[in-house]
Amino acid sequence: MTKEEPVVAGIDLGSTYTKAAVLARDRVVGTGITPTIVDLDAAAADALGEALQAAGMSRSDLDMTVSTGYGRRGVDIADHQVDEIYAKARAAKWLGSPWGPVRTVIDIGGQDSKVIRLDEAGDMDTFLMNTKCAAGTGRFLEQMAKVLGVPLEELGEIGEGAEHPVELSSTCIVMAESEVISLIAQRRPVKDIVAGIHRSVAERVGNMVKQIGVEEVVFFDGGPARNVGVKKALEEFRGAELYVPKNPQVSAAIGAAIVARDILREGKLPDGKPLEGIEAENPIDHWEGPPAGGGGQ
């Protein structure tokens, strides 16, 4: 393998799952996914090991590894870190969609949700992220599934065909929980409750989309994108069809791997700082502080 075709890996340490992706010859050759545990290094090693195994490779084959997600700064195996908003934007551009270039990314994560708008060139133009609140996140769906006693994976289908979706007045996890319990006590059909839950998530995220302005193609990403109920509710709310990538959970990891490839190609980090050991093109990138005698303590 020549230097032009490096083997790179991305690890996304999310609040719920740790995901890894290995890229070679500009293709995803392996992915891995494991629950995030307290020992972030172990979680990262697990996910990466799984991805490498799928690719039939070992760690020594990797030219560079970039981590992303909340736990990105807590792992030693990564050479660099990148924030997941940038990683997502990068992944959406690279993955694209069969309907044309992606212009809007809706991502519902375990703990947060974000909307990213890309410009014509596919670069990040602007983004919006939820406030410190679990409403409109994967954690909300997870908790609601638990209250209703249904598997998270089936939540999407259960809500289909609901005729009178309930209206949840609170979007706070704890408060919504007791609200759902009282709805169960009122013997409202589970179908209607689930549809109401999907709608509340869609409204929350849809409002962010509204603020930022939607442009097609819309790329719907993150674990909850696999939930058809949320997808449908969001489509109804926004009036635009959403494209869900084949493997929505690992796209941030793929994005991080793309960033690793970018770094190797361009010889500098995403923030423009030079990569150690590689000659940068721009002398200003070498700036490390003012000349000696400038003070400091």
Binding site: M124, K132, I284, W287, G289, P290, G294
Partner: protein
Amino acid sequence: MPKLFGRKRPNIRDAAAAEVPDTRPSAPRYRWKGGEDEERLDELSRIIVGRAKELIDHYQEQMRKAPSRPEAMAWFDERARFLSSPRIGEIEEHKANGGKVIGTMCVFAPLELIRAADAIPVRLCSGLHNTIATGEELMADAGLCPMVKSTLGVKMTHASPFFEASDAVIVPMVCDGKFKLGEVLQDFMEVWMVNVPHIKDTQQARSMWLDEVRALQQQIETLTGNRIYWEELKREIQLSLRAQTVARRLYDLRKADPPVINGRDSLLVNQTPHTEDLSVWVEHATVLAQELEQRVRDGIAVSDPEAPRIMLAGAPIMWPNFKIPQLIEESGGSIVADELCSGTRWLYDPIGIDEWIWDDMFQAMAERYLQPSVCPCFTPNDPRIGRIKQMIEDFRVEGVVYHVLRGCHIYNGESTRVKQSAEDRGVPMLIIETEYSQEDTEQLRTRVEAFLMLVRARRKKAAKAKRRAFKTIDGSEGGDGA
């Protein structure tokens, strides 16, 4: 001149003395069980002070990491050390000699009047997280802004020597939080509530505000036993003008590209006069300004000259809680401007004196606190939008970070409008909602890092567009550059 306006001449204000409101309770309004356990309070106070010291150590260490920090910052560092600051001793000495200390909140207390009566003004707005739980024992509103509960908690636990030294505190009625805070505080100390008109551009608002300031003057005079005369007021207005001049000078220096001072240092410099003797501050701020001016001439940057130029806007950020500015600057941004009431807004507006006669002086001094203020407690608040737009231009701001404290509805309420007007100028804005605890740093880091990435991408795009435009005009095939 002195004969006409000097000590012996009764001031016109005597004829139109304002009424001092009697709001003090005859008995405590609240039952506070926790207040009876003095041992617990002592323990709490120790923990709070210890944590404050940790925060100070942490942020000062981070601020010193700048590759080329101005040497003149040393004095500000020393004075910012809370309990071990020499200022505590100075205030104790002042009190031992019978002097008074008057606490203030926000930016509405007429500091010139306080100083003219030989009292020391200290700003008491708190940035500490671990006093909030105590504050909530009497203000149990989970959705209320942390500053209000934190400030109350500081008084309840007797953790701050500045608060404890205060013989009275001036609380402006600007927002729901401050409003009720003043009421609760009356169980603990003398509180002077001040009505702040929310529509300020009318004749009735002006005259009401003038009367409010007159009432404050009476309260200050009664407390200190010193009458405020022409000479003292003139002296203090002149001192304020000197401070405002040097503050403007420092402010202008932040326009330098590359930046010659960090945003965190600037913020600290602006907050030092909250408790310091203003005349001493003027001396040190002047030394700092000279050093920075030399840096501009020598082209010495304090940080990466390519760092995105960020403006910090929104709810106040109080030392030692520098979570947000620290995060922005350690993620590679450079805060070149702020419009915080705990930052440049504090000393931004000069007092406009026409003639040095009592009425003019008094009116100009009082109005300075009301008319130019762009606190979102006023409506309509177009001047704030205008000022932010102007700052974006003057400081070549590339991105705005808008700080919202959860529960601070007035700042949050204006955020959409500020965002839209920034975007009209092609400048993106990030709204950060947070509280006082340090635990959400990593969540915020994701947002801040992505935002800085966005700002860099926009800069690149703008440069490309410029080159393209140049090529079209030129007709030649210029290289695309690096």
